[in-house]
C-alpha cells in the first residue's frame, strides 16, 4: 500500500522532432504516514513528476501506481490529492465552504459540508467563522490554508503539495507546516519545493531532482552524511545545518546535527568549547 513511481519517464512531444525529455527513470515510494520531500530547481522536472503522480498526465515510460493501481486509471480517482503552487488562484465559489466542498462533492462524499468543515479545522481555521466568507477576501495565509483544505477535504490517502509555503510570511508558513504535519498522521504526503529548509527536518526521505533524474535519494541522516550530490543538483542545505557539517569536516567534535538554530548554537558552542 503505497504511492510508487518506478522508472517513471516522461517526454514532452514524444515521437516528434521537438521532443523534450522532462523526467527520466525516477523511483520513489511514499507510504501512508510518511513525508517525502522532493527538492529541485526550476526545470528539474518537479512539476512533471507531480502531474504524473497525481494521474493528470500519463507516463511515456515506467509506471506511477497508487495502492497497486495506475494513477491514471479511473479507479485511482480521488486517491491522490494535488495542491498546486499558489492554489488560491483556483478559487471559484461564493463561499469558503462551497469551494472547499467542491472536491468531496465531485467524489460523491456522503456529507461534503461536514468533510469541508473538518478540513478547515485541520488547517487551523475556525469553520464557523470562515465557512460563509468569500474566498476572495481572505489574507494571503488564510487563502493558502483554505486552498489546501480544499485538497485535504478529498480525504485522499496521498497528498501532493507543490511549494506549499511559497510567498507566505512566517506566521502563514508555520500554519501551513502545522497542517502538513497533521495530514501526515492520516496520509502519505509529498512536498515538492526548491527550498526545503523548513520541511527537511521532518522528512522521512529526501529526493533531489536535477534535469529530470534523481540526483540524490535517501533519509535525512543519509543526506547529512553525504550531501555533495544534493548540492550538485543546484540545491543548498540550510546554512544552520551546513555550519555544523562544515565544522565536522574541519575536524571539530560535533556530536549530532541540529536543524533548529538555538540547538545548533548549543552544538557548535559545545564543539568549540571542547576544542579549546
Amino acid at each position: 500500500m503505497a504511492l510508487i513511481a518506478d522508472g517513471l519517464t516522461y517526454t514532452y512531444g514524444a515521437g516528434t522532432s521537438f521532443s523534450v525529455p522532462a523526467l527520466d527513470g525516477v523511483r520513489l515510494t511514499v507510504g501512508r504516514g510518511e513525508l517525502v520531500v522532493v527538492a529541485g530547481t526550476t526545470g528539474s522536472g518537479k512539476s512533471t513528476l507531480l502531474r504524473l503522480l497525481a494521474g493528470v498526465l500519463a507516463p511515456t515510460g515506467g509506471s506511477a501506481t497508487v495502492d497497486g493501481v495506475p494513477t491514471t486509471a479511473p479507479s485511482a480517482r480521488g486517491r491522490v490529492a494535488l495542491v498546486f503552487q499558489n492554489p488560491e488562484a483556483q478559487f471559484f465559489a461564493e463561499t469558503v465552504l462551497a469551494d472547499v466542498s467542491f472536491g468531496p462533492r465531485n467524489l460523491g462524499a456522503g456529507d461534503p459540508g461536514a468533510v469541508a468543515r473538518e478540513a478547515l479545522a485541520q488547517v487551523g481555521l475556525d469553520p464557523e467563522a470562515f465557512a460563509p466568507r468569500s474566498p476572495f477576501t481572505l489574507s494571503g495565509g488564510e487563502a493558502r490554508r483554505v486552498a489546501i483544505a480544499g485538497a485535504l477535504a478529498m480525504r485522499a490517502p496521498y497528498v501532493l503539495l507543490d511549494e506549499p509555503t511559497a510567498g507566505l510570511d512566517r506566521a502563514g508558513r508555520q500554519a501551513v507546516l502545522a497542517s502538513i504535519a497533521a495530514e501526515r498522521e492520516r496520509a502519505g504526503v509529498v512536498v515538492v519545493t526548491h527550498d526545503p529548509a523548513e520541511v527537511l527536518a521532518a522528512a522521512d526521505r529526501v529526493i533531489a531532482l536535477a534535469r529530470g533524474a534523481v540526483a540524490f535519494a535517501g533519509t535525512v541522516p543519509e543526506l547529512l552524511a553525504g550531501y555533495a550530490a544534493y548540492e550538485g543538483a543546484g540545491l543548498r542545505l540550510p546554512d544552520v545545518v551546513r555550519a555544523q557539517l562544515l565544522a565536522i569536516e574541519r575536524g571539530a567534535p560535533v556530536k549530532r546535527v541540529e536543524f533548529e538554530p538555538e540547538r545548533a548554537a548549543a552544538v557548535l558552542a559545545d564543539a568549540r568549547g571542547a576544542e579549546s
Binding site: 510570511d169 546554512d239 544552520v240 538555538e262 548549543a266
Partner: protein
C-alpha cells in the same frame, strides 16, 4: 528622493519620512498590509499624498507638469514579472517606456541594447516573453524600467516569484545598478533578501517602527520578529552564539562566515 508623508486619521501611511540617495540601497520591510506598496506607489506619483509631500530630485509628485519626468526618474518593478510585460517580444517590451516619451527610433535602439546588456539579456531581443524563465522575466521587467534612464528603482518584492537561481541572477543585476549610482528602495518582508542594504526601515500599520541598519535587525532577531518581519534562521543561530559569549557578527549569514568567526 525624499518622502515626507505625515498623514492623519486612519491613513494607510501615517507620518512616514524616508530618503533614498543615489547609489544607496534602502530596505523597506514590514508584514503584509503594513503600507509598503502604498509607499512605493507614492514615490513615483501613482498615488498622491493626502498630506505631506514626496519629492524626486527636487520635483514634487503633485506638480502635474513634472509627472512624466518623475516616472522616468523612478522605475517601478512589481512582484509578478509576468503581469508587467507589455511587449510581444523582449526588445519591444524594453522599448515601451521610452517609446511613450517619444524618443527617436535611433536612440531607442541604443537604450534598448544598453538596458538588455545591463540585465544580461543581450541576444534574446526577439524572444517571446512567455518563453523566458522567471528570473529572466524579472530581469526583463528591470530592463523595461532601466530604458527610461531612472536614477531610482522601486522594487516591490522582486524575489517573491523566483527560486534560488533566479534570485541570484536578479540580485547580481541590482548590485551592479547600485554601484552605477542607482538608488534602490527594496520592499520585502524577508530580512535575508536585504541583508546587504545600506539602511532598513520597518513599517508597521503605516508608521515607521524601526529605522537603522539591517545588521541592527539581524543582531536582535527577537526584536525583528516582534516587528513582524522574517528573520533568517542563521541570524537566530549567530544571536544564540553571541548569547553564549562568542563574537560572531550579525552579518555572518552563511556557514563559512559563521565558522570563520567562531574559530577565529
Amino acid at each position: 528622493m525624499r518622502l515626507v508623508y505625515p498623514g492623519a486619521g486612519r491613513a494607510a501611511l501615517d507620518g512616514v519620512s524616508l530618503t533614498v540617495a543615489p547609489g544607496q540601497a534602502v530596505a523597506l520591510l514590514g508584514p503584509n498590509g503594513s503600507g509598503k506598496s502604498t509607499l512605493a506607489r507614492l514615490c513615483n506619483g501613482l498615488l498622491l499624498p493626502t498630506d505631506g509631500r514626496v519629492t524626486v530630485d527636487g520635483m514634487d509628485t503633485r506638480d502635474d507638469d513634472r509627472v512624466w519626468d518623475i516616472r522616468s526618474r523612478v522605475g517601478y518593478v512589481q512582484q509578478n514579472p509576468e503581469n508587467q510585460i507589455v511587449g510581444t517580444v523582449v526588445e519591444e517590451d524594453v522599448a515601451f517606456g521610452p517609446e511613450n516619451l517619444g524618443i527617436p527610433p535611433a536612440e531607442l535602439r541604443t537604450r534598448v541594447d544598453d538596458a538588455l546588456r545591463a540585465v544580461g539579456l543581450s541576444g534574446l531581443e526577439r524572444r517571446e516573453p512567455h518563453l523566458l524563465s522567471e528570473g529572466q522575466k524579472q530581469r526583463l521587467a528591470i530592463a523595461g524600467a532601466l530604458a527610461l534612464g531612472p536614477g531610482y528603482l522601486l522594487l516591490d518584492e522582486p524575489f517573491a516569484m523566483l527560486d534560488g537561481v533566479g534570485r541570484d541572477e536578479v540580485r547580481a543585476v541590482l548590485e551592479a545598478l547600485r554601484s552605477r549610482g542607482v538608488g534602490l528602495l527594496h520592499i520585502t518582508h524577508h530580512l535575508a533578501d536585504v541583508a546587504e542594504a545600506d539602511r532598513a526601515v520597518v513599517l508597521r500599520e503605516g508608521r515607521v517602527a524601526f529605522d537603522g541598519t539591517p545588521d541592527d535587525l539581524l543582531g536582535s532577531p527577537e526584536h525583528a520578529g516582534e516587528l513582524g518581519i522574517d528573520v533568517p534562521p542563521e541570524a537566530r543561530l549567530t544571536a544564540a552564539l553571541r548569547g553564549r559569549g562568542f563574537d560572531v557578527p550579525p552579518g555572518a549569514l552563511d556557514a563559512e562566515a559563521i565558522l570563520d568567526a567562531l574559530w577565529r
